[in-house]
């Protein structure tokens, strides 16, 4: 079979095969040599879970299997129907239709693993999370960037909680004294990166990552001057030379107070996770509250292909009795636009379906463009269904505002260094041209390309509507600092 026709389920079969093999090898190493797996290295996480927490390990395995098989890519009813129709929909690549479901299940899984397992220190928890992130990424999380995002968010929450109060536990001293001691302790150690004394004003303006810790000499020679920079890919501790235990193979160094035992950390981390869960649940509600600000009567709105977020947004505006028209581009070759249009029409919205080719022709009459988001990048750029770049360019040409509706879990801490290949995937071209043509000797030499996503540069987007409000693309990088720690930016490769 020609290489460019590698089918999706082939990949799945191969993935499952290697997955089984890796299970086998893990089992054999377990029985043959037995150093107790420590939670000090992300690569040990699997073994650690397997030996200490078999129930959680089973949960993780199941989740990974479902992720690889792509069972999260449609809702329950959708997958049942897909099964019934068999081969006709297997060629239609339903690419992550219910992303919120995947994300919610990921958070539930993480909660189920973090809650009962026996980690003691913040550093161990972070290592556990990092290991889980690697696992999920390898299991197909690269197709769904939201999975990596929630893991990073939990890691940020952990760091935040660990930094907040670093009192060693079980001391019967009076609380107030302890807090006073702590304040002095902390303020003597903290120095803002510019080298000035710590003051309220400097704290307000300093980026959290710019606050460094000063340490005694014996710990690490180069640690004291380490600045955590804002930019991506900071080589955190790459030049670690010390041989102190607890520094994992990736070279990630955590501040020393992360290595002290914390019993109250579990509680606060679980609360943070719960906050994230409720944010995910209320996602659409929060986004739809802004619907009436942006959609007004008599407008003609253009949207592209299928997106649950956009659909609910438009329906919310219609529910508030705004009369507007929607034009949906069908989004060949997946034709998501057809289902979207049907659903919108059933909700009473005046909908028209057009071919993608007619986008420029119709743009002269459109008032607003609403694009769905697969991921939002750190520079404010957008990863959207393939064909959206053309829509955005046509809108720019006609001075039509382009608005993207996205939940914050889609915000990824990465830059589009690969251009159009960022977070992109080339899938089977069977939906572009029928396989029966490939038998024709003349046509079998033709190259067929079927990308799933497009990268849209930030200057083509006018507004991001998210569950925490509306932002312009140039502000997105600032939001990253509130959600992710720059040490966690590197992808879980």
């Amino acid at each position: 079979m020609p290489p460019f026709l590698a089918e999706r389920h082939h990949c799945h079969h191969i993935a499952l095969f290697t997955f089984h093999r890796s299970c086998q090898t893990t089992v054999t190493t377990m029985t043959s040599d037995n150093p107790p797996a420590n939670l000090d290295d992300p690569q040990n996480v699997r073994r650690w879970l397997q030996s200490n927490h078999p129930k959680q390990f089973a949960l993780l395995d199941n989740f990974e299997i479902e992720l690889r098989l792509g069972r999260f890519s449609s809702s329950r009813e959708g997958s049942v129907a897909a099964g019934a129709q068999g081969s006709s929909t297997s060629s239609r690549y339903q690419y992550g239709r219910d992303r919120r479901l995947v994300t919610t299940r990921t958070v539930e899984l993480l909660r189920a693993i973090i809650g009962p397992t026996r980690w003691k220190t913040a550093a161990q928890l972070l290592t556990l999370l990092r290991g889980l992130g690697n696992e999920l990424h390898a299991a197909g999380g690269y197709r769904e960037p939201a999975i990596g995002n929630v893991v990073r968010r939990i890691m940020y929450a952990v760091r935040d909680e660990a930094d907040r109060v670093s009192i060693p536990t079980s001391s019967g001293v009076d609380d107030m004294e302890k807090i006073d001691e702590l304040t002095e302790h902390v303020s003597s150690k903290l120095r803002v990166s510019a080298g000035k004394e710590l003051s309220l004003a400097s704290m307000l303006w300093a980026h959290p990552q710019h606050v460094t810790m000063k340490h005694s000499r014996q710990q690490s020679g180069d640690y004291s001057d380490r600045l955590r920079s804002d930019s991506m890919g900071s080589e955190s501790g790459g030049n670690a030379t010390s041989s102190i235990d607890g520094w994992d193979a990736n070279g990630a160094i955590y501040p020393p107070h992360f290595y002290s035992r914390r019993d109250d950390l579990r509680q606060s981390v679980m609360e943070a996770i719960q906050e994230m869960m409720s944010e995910l649940e209320d996602l659409h509600k929060n986004i739809n509250e802004q619907a009436t600000q942006h959609i007004h009567a008599g407008e003609i709105i253009l949207t592209y292909a299928l997106s649950k977020t956009v659909e609910l947004f438009l329906k919310a505006a219609a529910a508030k009795k705004r009369k507007f028209q929607v034009i949906v581009c069908e989004g060949a070759p997946h034709f998501g636009g057809h289902s979207m249009a049907k659903s919108l029409a059933e909700a009473g919205i005046d909908t028209t379906v057009i071919h993608d080719a007619a986008t420029f022709a119709i743009m002269a009459r459109v008032n607003k463009v609403l694009l769905p988001a697969h991921a939002v990048l750190a520079n404010g750029g957008l990863i959207a269904p393939s064909g959206s770049n053309m829509v955005a360019l046509a809108a720019k040409q006609n001075s039509v505002p382009v608005v993207t509706v996205a939940g914050m879990f889609k915000l990824c801490p990465m830059y589009p260094h690969e251009g159009q290949d960022t977070l992109n995937d080339l899938i089977s071209p069977s939906s572009v041209i029928d396989y029966s043509l490939m038998g024709d000797p003349v046509l079998s030499g033709v190259e067929l390309i079927n990308p799933v996503h497009d990268y849209i540069p930030p200057q083509l987007i006018d507004l991001y509507i998210t569950n925490i409000g509306g932002f312009q693309p140039s502000y997105i990088y600032r939001l990253l600092a509130e959600y992710y720690h720059s040490d966690d930016w590197e992808a879980f490769e």
Binding site: H355, S386, M390
Partner: protein, 379 residues
């Protein structure tokens, strides 16, 4: 139907057309007329050149079997009234005529008007047939060769990656000439769009000639455009006198993407397709196709563009019962307008010109009409 487009002509079923016309007081039509009309309305004939040639051939056939009534005072008037006008009207009702057809028809009427009043009918017919023949040969065939030469000179010897959209007779011809006659080595990316999927024909033609091709749908264009494309060749249905190009829907998107990536766009068009209309955007003058073509998502057809025929086994469509849903409308535009700033050059038989020179060409080509009005009173 969509209210924005209520001013545009809508597709009609051929039986309706026939009933309508037979209710008029014309004598029975020659069978060639509804045959051609049927070919037009079912999209069996697509493309400006094809439709124009077919029309002129049918006129030639009609002329062969026509003889003016003995009581006529002016055979030219009768010819016009009883043959030319009704048939053209009929075909326009089947499918709105293209600019190429319109210009050819104007030429034919002019040729009839220029005939001597007291000429024998046989002689007159001979002259008419000759001039139609000359029109096709000069303004379509020779023009195509000249365009192929001019545009072919822009293709480099080795390593070009050329992008084409849909199916254009003149673009295919120039690529085949460059590959087979001048033995240049280049790759072609064929971009296709629904619903007509004409790019499949282009793919077949070019692949059989041994040119290495890539085939994508329009959505994948933005992924490929920046990486490798060096030039874009587009065909046209008509050139407006303000330099904008009327062509198959989707052409404007291709030109837009190319221009935003600073890739040259060459529009290949014969001069007989230049029209003295001015159009600002795609909606004021367009044509609506059959809305069911939008609902039918069968992307797996090959060969001459054919519609969803009911005898083939069809899979379930999401929008199959769209007619029952009052809020849902389907829109199938046939043409779109590419603004002149997206076009780097227009390749005609007289050379490669900037799009702003199209108005000049128009004036040059029809001197007697324009100059009369401009220089009335002098001389």
């Amino acid at each position: 139907m969509v209210s924005l487009f209520s001013h545009l002509p809508r597709p009609k079923i051929p039986t309706d057309v026939h009933h309508h016309l037979s209710s008029l007081s014309t004598p029975s039509l020659h069978p060639a007329i509804p045959t051609l009309g049927n070919l037009y309305s079912t999209h069996a004939l697509l493309g400006g050149n094809t439709r124009c040639r077919a029309m002129l051939q049918t006129f030639a056939l009609l002329l062969q079997s026509y003889s003016p009534p003995p009581t006529s005072r002016d055979y030219r008037h009768d010819l016009d009234h009883s043959l030319l006008k009704p048939s053209f009207q009929y075909w326009t009702m089947c499918r709105p005529h293209s600019v190429s057809m319109g210009n050819a028809f104007s030429f034919l009427k002019l040729a009839v008007a220029n005939l001597e009043r007291d000429l024998e009918w046989d002689v007159a017919r001979g002259i008419l047939l000759e001039s139609m023949e000359a029109y096709v040969t000069e303004r379509i065939d020779y023009a195509g060769k000249a365009i192929s030469r001019h545009a072919g000179s822009k293709i480099q010897e080795d390593g070009d990656v050329i992008l084409v959209f849909g199916r254009s007779e003149v673009v295919n011809r120039l690529l085949l000439d460059a590959a087979l006659v001048e033995k240049k080595v280049f790759r072609v990316i064929v971009v296709d769009s629904r619903p007509l999927l004409e790019g499949r024909d282009t793919l077949q033609i070019l692949s059989r000639a041994g040119i290495s091709c890539t085939y994508i749908l329009l959505n994948a264009l933005s992924y490929l455009m920046m990486r490798e494309v060096t030039k874009v060749f587009l065909g046209a249905s008509a050139l407006m006198s303000n330099g904008s190009v009327l062509s198959r829907v989707g052409t404007a998107c291709v030109a837009l993407l190319a221009q935003s990536n600073h890739i040259p766009v060459l529009v290949c068009c014969e001069t007989y397709k230049i029209c003295n209309r001015v159009q600002l955007e795609s909606i004021t003058g367009n044509e609506l196709g059959d809305a069911d073509d939008v609902a039918c998502t069968d992307c797996e057809r090959v060969g001459p563009s054919n519609r969803c025929s009911s005898d083939r086994e069809r899979k379930e469509e999401v929008l199959e019962d769209w007619k029952n849903q009052p809020n849902l409308k389907l829109l199938n535009l046939i043409y779109d307008l590419t603004p002149s700033d997206f076009v780097t050059g227009v390749v005609t038989e007289v050379g490669i010109l900037p799009p702003t020179s199209v108005a000049v060409l128009l004036r040059e080509m029809s001197p007697q009409e324009n100059n009369e009005s401009a220089f009335k009173g002098t001389d």
